[in-house]
Amino acid sequence: MVTSSAPPRPAPRVSRSVVIGLSIGAIAVLVFVLSPLLGSVSVPPRDVFQILLHQLSGGALFAQPCAGTPVSPRLCGAYEVIVWQLYLPEILLALIVGAALGISGGALQGVFRNPLADPFLLGISSGGTIGAAIIYVYQFEVARADLFLPLFAFLGSVTTGLVILGIARGRFSSVETLLLAGVALANLLSAILSLVLLYNPVGSEQVTFWLLGGLGLASWTIDGIAFGAIVVLATLLSLHGRELNLIQLGNDIAQSAGVDARRVRLRLILLASMATAIAVAFTGIIGFVGLVSPHIVRRLVGSDYRIVLPGAAVVGAIFLLGARDVSYLVFPGSLLPIGIFTAFAGVPFFLYLLYRQRQSSTMGLP
């Protein structure tokens, strides 16, 4: 009698994933709890938690949010505004944008089968920057910058994404060509931005500051818009995990499994571009989150894109919120662009990736 060996049990793998997932979740909760304590102004922890409970309970708890603390009612009022209207929206925006960048990076790395791909590689962010520069430089309704700035940045990003999509649908549709076209487009847009700033130095300081990324536009309204958009886009992206897994095995295998690789790629590029556009619209350019997050997830749970995509969203969210907290811890009271801190963490990781790639590419050579 012929007996077949039992297939490898997936259970340990799943349980490991669950443990890792729970650990990441725990870290996320910890960071989220600590974050309201950190900001440009130091609010006493007891006041922070009482204010949060007061607001979350609709005023039922701690009717006087600073009761029992040596804070005057006037200062308490300021603290309430700071915690509820500044810090919490800022924290939520960091989570939303981090998630958007993380899942976009994961999707694009899968689409291009390139570990160095990230949402900014295709020039999507450069397009958004030009949109923002138009607002700052031409002082177009700056009084309503909270509305027009994200709108213009979004339009710039999406327009760029559509151009890339057009290229992808055209004759030059190989993955390599698309990547190179994206890089070229990003450079062209950067040159246009430089030209715009040269002709209009007024506002160039703000554009430069915006180029480094920040959470200053955060508000409950902005968070609501961003959250709604990102939930939809992230869900749609996450649903493509199986197709991305098959694409990693090659177009032919994907085709034989009933997956139209070209169509899926186009769809994913469009979705990732839109998610990135949302992020760029509200926070400016925050680099390396999209690059680093998928790699961390892959190191932890393997290359299954059904896990990598949502995992990259979670890690991206924690990464960006952590960067915000570190910026306030290292430079208390300063308003340094958050992109500086993601770059500090991201660049060494990027170099490590290059080093690893070089090592693996030379393995086996005499």
Partner: protein, 338 residues
Amino acid sequence: MSLNDRDPPPAPARRTVSLAVFAVVVLVVAGAAIAATAGYYALRPTSTPGTLTVTDDLGRTVTVPYDPARVAVLSPSIMDVMFRLGLRSHVVGVDCYAAALGGLSDDYSPDQVALWNLSPSMCVQVGPTFAPETLVNLTPALVLASTIVSVAEVEEITNTLGIPVVMLQPPTLSGILVDVSLVGEIFGVGSKAETLNGQLSLELYNATEIDQSLPSFPTVLVTYSVDANGYWTFGPGTFGESLIEIAGGSSISANATTPYPELSPAQVLVSDPDWIVYGVGFGLNESTYAGGPLWSQFTAVKMGNLSGMDSNWLTEPDPTMVLEGIPALLAVLHPSAP
């Protein structure tokens, strides 16, 4: 007791003393500058006829032609001095971001362009990079510049083009008087400089006298720009802060760690300034600031304790800052002061 109910803080004794000392220093410096200019500046005749040797604000010793007919002025604050001393006809070039790009409008307000009769043909490009050819074309015998032009570029002008450069970047309000005297000596208009310095000294003296009689110093945010992250203002050791102090205010950014910090809305909320003064012009107006983060939440905004002032009065260290900026700010913060 709420913060709203608090009594106005009394004027700190140390400030009163420092303002008194400041007033004395201003008068002494002004007097010394006018009466014994050569000794103060190390300004002395040279062996070459028609030249002077001066020490500028950066401590550089420069030999300059006496009363040069053609001068390039690379700073709006120096242009203000030249105009007030009746030396406009000597000016053949002024700083521009770039003649073909931003032009005069980036460095000068429309009022200044009209008052000083400036034209695009006078542009010397100082940005985005300094273009020495635009300076050479104007054939100046002397360049008066602030640190809008880097020291390296100054050396280039001096060594390569052979045009002497005097850097006028007064470090304090009293330094404005020193520079007025220096310009007066170079152009042989010492008496006009003396008259102008007399007006400046009087304004500074009057302001310090008023300060000493004030019962309190209201806290104030003086901002000259705004973006999504917060409000740009003046930190310690800047002209803006000196202006606030001598106008009887107490800057909420006095303890900042940088000269020109950006305050977050949270920092402004907690500092809770009695007054907010914002710079207007160069594309900024009240609605610009009204669109700033949490603007409507600030007590000063709710109380209507707001005032817009010409940005140049806040940012340019020149006689106009003393003669216009100080009285204007004093009138805002202390409307009942004499």
